[in-house]
Symmetry: C2
């Protein structure tokens, strides 16, 4: 699947959204100006308002667009996994943490800039994030059906906890100037070990 920032698109709306992710990540949401997004996208300032109501709207639409891409990627990559639910969980965590390398601006946008709009956090019913948690929850359900994951857990809370843990570790990676590959592998191994052991159904001794 093509990267969201690299895919070719003659669609102005798409170009504006990509530019918004880039500019928000670089300058910060509150400091970023709509005119900078316009320049980055190569459109006139006024053009942005043909597609988006204001900067808040641009933030929300950019988030929805990128989360759709993330969810689609997760769905298709998980479908390719030849293995059980624990293998899928492993792949899920890996794909999320890999954003720090594959899509650094997107990772920065999600972990740092997105929380900068109170409106976004408090008022926006975050359906795409719900879908993301739903994908994680399905993997856990599959693991329970396979007898690999404990039944005495609340899938929704555990999905949030997993996301929170990954998001925090991703944030710590994004805030570094560079991420050596060994560091990334080590972080993934920690998260995978922690959560797979935490969820695993153990045979009674």
């Amino acid at each position: 699947m093509a990267s969201p920032t690299n895919r070719r698109s003659s669609d102005k709306r798409e170009r504006i959204l990509s530019a918004a992710v880039k500019v928000f990540a670089r300058n910060g949401y509150y400091n970023a100006k709509v005119s900078e997004v316009a320049r980055e996208a190569g459109v006139a300032d006024g053009t942005i308002y043909l597609y988006f109501k204001n900067k808040d709207d641009l933030l929300i639409k950019a988030f929805e667009d990128r989360m759709t891409w993330i969810n689609d990627r997760l769905r298709s990559e998980l479908a390719k996994v030849q293995g059980d639910a624990l293998d899928k969980l492993h792949r899920f965590l890996e794909l999320h943490i890999l954003l720090a390398i594959d899509e650094r601006e997107l990772a920065e946008f999600i972990t740092v800039e997105l929380r900068q709009s109170s409106k976004f956090i408090k008022e926006y019913k975050n359906q795409k994030f719900g879908e993301f948690l739903g994908l994680l929850s399905e993997v856990i359900k599959q693991g329970q059906d396979e007898g690999l994951i404990r039944h005495n857990i609340d899938r929704h809370t555990v999905s949030r906890a997993l996301f929170g843990a990954c998001d925090e570790v991703l944030l710590s990676l994004v805030l570094r100037k560079e991420v050596p590959e060994g560091v990334l592998d080590a972080r993934m191994a920690e998260l995978t070990g922690l959560f797979i052991e935490g969820l695993r159904a153990h045979r009674q001794l």
Copy 2:
């Protein structure tokens, strides 16, 4: 230990910091005005600038003050635990999630408003947060020494992951209008189960 928002203090600086947490939580960091903090604290607008350089400085000082309180509380509560490192870990998670009830404004300030200053996240060397992670890391170390926690983990990464998971679950609680006590207990049980199982050293079968 007295709550940071209720403790009596004739100290203006303290009153301004308490007011800042309250106003930032209520109105959002970016919307909040220094004059509102002054009104809440019962001081003249100019007084604030005797103690703090600007709104960013007020945010950082308020954070440091509250994190000092959180760290002190954790330290003293952990010292009271009669039991092993897993009991301490349980208490740690419990105390963190209890912020959603005990110190709702502080919880909202930390999970939502604090991330709204790019400056805070990107440029400020967060020593108090480092101390918080250090307390968690010490408990994990103790558990390893006691043979209760696996040795093949990186304590620093695991501490961040634990914090991230708790922070996300705390955020989901803070964004609800009310938190019924049963919900809180259920969330704590999930987090505790997940992480204690995830870290536990298992006897080989």
